[in-house]
Amino acid sequence: MELQELKAQALAGLEQTADLEGLEAWRVRFLGRKGPLSQFLRSISSLPLEERRLQGESANRVKSSLQDAWQSRRESLRLAQVSTSQSGADISLPGRPMPLGRLHPITQTFRDICAAFQSLGFEVVEGPEVEWDYYNFEALNIPPGHAARDMFSTFWVDYTDDKGGHPMLLRTHTSPMQVRVMEKTEPPVRVVVPGQVFRYEATDATHEAVFHQVEGLAVDENITLADLKGTLYEVARLLFGEDRKARFRCTYFPFVEPGVDMAIDCAMCRGEGCRVCSGTGWLEILGAGMVHPNVLSRVGYDTQRYTGFAFGLGVERIAMLRHGIDDIRLFFQNDLRFLRQFR
């Protein structure tokens, strides 16, 4: 067959192809290994060199023009296929759900609090929940028989030591870690301690026997109450937003001096006074203060050289304030209808 005739026949056939399958059949027929062009190219191998070169060149020109035509036909067929409107394409059908797991709101709050402090150079560490009286009380300037123990109703472990004492308890706060960290580290210290704590008390909408805290401790030369105020105000801003007001007032914790109670203005009433804030306009969110000299000297820190601040936040309280949760017991009920709301 003449090459030009072959070309015309092939191009005419190409026009007839209606879809990609027909196009593939066309390609196998005209451009395949057993197709006429391949046969032609094989058949000229016995021709003299010059003749072979001339015939080969023209055959390859035809081949390449057919390949180009095939390519452009393929593109137009594909385009035609895509643009054909598909019946049954109901975009309103729900998407196939991807598995979506969520963290418990307490974990989310822990992370937000810790991240705020980490941005200020604090390291996150954890400590034991079952503690010795020494770490939970004595080393924190609360000797046996001290009235301040009434501030921390305690679960005692049924455990008796050699001397007949009962020194094992469930920690009532994360503060024992202040002592444990300082025992192991020389200043400068900057840590936050997220953790579970226990109080011996009946449960109701605002009280839980088991809850969570984040403790913080910074000790170095030249750390002041003004630094504490600056640090906590910055964290309150990160957690609650720019426009909230904060308040520092004096209070008592045995392991700090001076002691601080920090509150933010009530978001419900904007400080006017309502049921949520018991009419005060303020919501207490944490206790803090300068680490008591007795606590520093007990771990062997030089109180002339070092000062420090410490604070403890109630995680449930902060989560409740941020999300408007009105019953603390929800955190331990693990009802999916509750948990799923915290994306």
Binding site: L93, P94, R96, P97, M98, P99, L100, G101, L103, T107, L120, G121, E123, V124, V125, P128, V130, W132, P143, G145, H146, A147, F155, W156, V157, D158, Y159, P188, V189, V191, E201, A202, V210, A218, N222, I223, T224, L225, A226, D227, K229, G230, Y233, R249, C250, T251, Y252, E257, P258, G259, V260, S278, M290, H292, P293, F332, N334, L336, L339, R340
Partner: protein, 796 residues
Amino acid sequence: MKVSFRWLKEYVHTTLPPQEIAEALTMAGLEVEAGQGLGEHWEGVRVARVTGVAPHPNADRLRLATVELSGESHTVVCGAPNLSVGQKVAFAQIGARLIDGHTGQTVTLKQAKIRGVTSAGMVCSEKELGLGESHEGILELSPEAPVGAPLADYMGDTPLEVEITPNRPDCLSVLGVAREVAAITGEPIRPPALDYSEEGPPVRELASVEIADPDLCPRYCATIIQGITLGPSPRWLQERLISYGMRPINSIVDVTNYVMVEMGQPLHAFDYRTLLESKIIVRRARHGENITSLDGQKRSLNPDMLVIADAHRAVAVAGVMGGLDTEVTEGTTDILLEAANFAYASLRNTASTLKMRTEASMRFERGLSPELVPPNIKRATQLIQQVAGGRVAKGIIDVYPGMADAGAIVLEMTEIPRLLGMEIDRAEVLRVLKALGFECREDSPERLLVRPPYWRSDVRLPADVVEEVARIVGYDRLPTTVLSGRLPHRQPDTKFRLKERVRDSLSGTGLQEAITYPLVSADWLETVHCPLGLRLANPVSREQEYLRTSLRPGLLAALATNQKSGADAVRLFEVGRAYLPWEDGLPLERDTAAAVLWNGNGEALWTGRQAGADFYEAKGLVATLLYRLGTSSVDFIPSQEPFLHPSWQAAVTVGGRVVGVIGQVHPKAADVLEVTGPAFFVEIYLDAVAAESGRTVTYQHLSRFPVAIRDLALVVVEEVSARQITDILSSSPLVTEVTLFDLYRGRPIPAGHKSLAFRMRFQSPKRTLTDTEVDRAQQQLVELLGRELGAVLRSA
């Protein structure tokens, strides 16, 4: 503590409203809430005297009363049965606002004609004034009430609810709170009178005091008053006790209570004549000793407790409660008045052992200053003389073995900016400390010698003095600064980081995090076959008696809760601690990741029903988790965990070491925990995984050569495990990956057999494999499978 604002103002002048005082005290360290004011609405109500009572012309049950106030007379119609001439009453003029006795609503009093007679106002009952429930009769005022005075001036009051922190026992008194007000406002304090006349014999001739255990009693003072007349205390005194919430008893007991509330020191009065041999001995109780306390209860004492005794017997539990035998009662004429100081820790133990937390013990427990004793006993003696008469013996017995001079506190002026981060000038420091009753000596320009007032037992260190200055100056004045200085050398808590990664991984695979209760019941732990572990000495309930030794009970209970509330599918995980007893010390708090999977009938989706949770989902979950944590050589081996279904369970190993267990919850345990349907449980001990995880990944070269993919379907008897086949398929050096993609049982596969289909990837890092090579390798594998496992190729 409830403090009457009216009473408070007796010691300090202020024109500020109670709400502002409450706010200022709160900022300075005493949390105070001003309660509902009594008399805030008594506009137009004044004290009046009844000058005449006449019958109503048109009604038998009503009378006409004439009341007089500041020269004017008014006639009112009144139905009260207890009205009589000469009474002082609360008279509401037209326009006054009152509470309607029947509806409880606040109303404005209007002029009214009652049965033909015009009433010019109203004589009020307790209820109409908001004082109480009674509106049967009118409120009769004290004969001393000043006629014409607005009732609010005469008896209006606002209760201040004061929350006293444990360090401030001095503020467990009206005077103490008044001192705070004085320091904040700068007003002077007006202390109560302490002077009285001593007309009796010298006190030492009448009684003796011996302290046998001075470690528990640093100070004991006594006075004696003879010839008193016991009766009810005067109305003003009773009203104050009532304002605090105490019941008046008799003049002597009332005075001791009054002084305690007024000045903070608990006191006790004994009937002097009942004290055998007129002796007071302060000693530890004897073994087997008993006392009947004032409340009529017989109390067993032990030598850890301190008692006040006479020559023969205990007459009071020191600082807690007096005894019945020596009670001041009808017929008492002579009293011995005690004011003492007791060691707080022992007293606290005694009060809690005897379950007697009294007003007195509550104050002693907080560590009162022994210096409070003399002014308080003087005040009480003075008041007793005033309200009950009698002759006071000369002098005071004062035994003070615990006397110690704490010395002055040296306050370097630099300490203030060092702790506070702000300067306070010297003059202001001196002014504040003086207002708080501190004595300051200016030792040098750089330092002050500071002596706290006698009532402040809590101020001992320079830091305490700095706080005093800061709280009165106000924390508002503190600047906000940022931490500067060196950053600490960081030591990341690897265990904490691992837990956070587990949380991310499990929530990332679609599970919901739960946090379950760490305190559980013995029954629950036994149900899930876990040891009991640590028990609480004082649990709130049997349901929360033990520290959990496993996360199993909590998570399964959470599953049951959600099943009951109608969930379709539940996939929960928890990362928490199990508390395992550890030799003779604190328990091992083992970080554990656990998950429970349940999928009801399968979630219904429009694209097709999702498969229900099963063993393989649990297995896949663990494999994915451990892969994410970077562990290698994870394996699942047969296990015998009684909490799980005997067939559907496996132990998880990493590097040959067991790190957890997975399986279907045993139906028996599921029943007890009220879980319905098959639930699958995963438990991984993170301490065991920790060492294997978190390695830095070393990059593997990517092969440039093509992959050949071959699928292979094999028929084997049921007993052959998929694992045996993959082990053989993976043994060829040319095979880089083997994946099971189909499992089929049923026709045409013969019974007792199954068909497993695998996809294999053949690849060399060095060259392109030829078809022949791959064919040969596959053929060898098939032959090996035939020999070892009896596997045959499934015919198409």
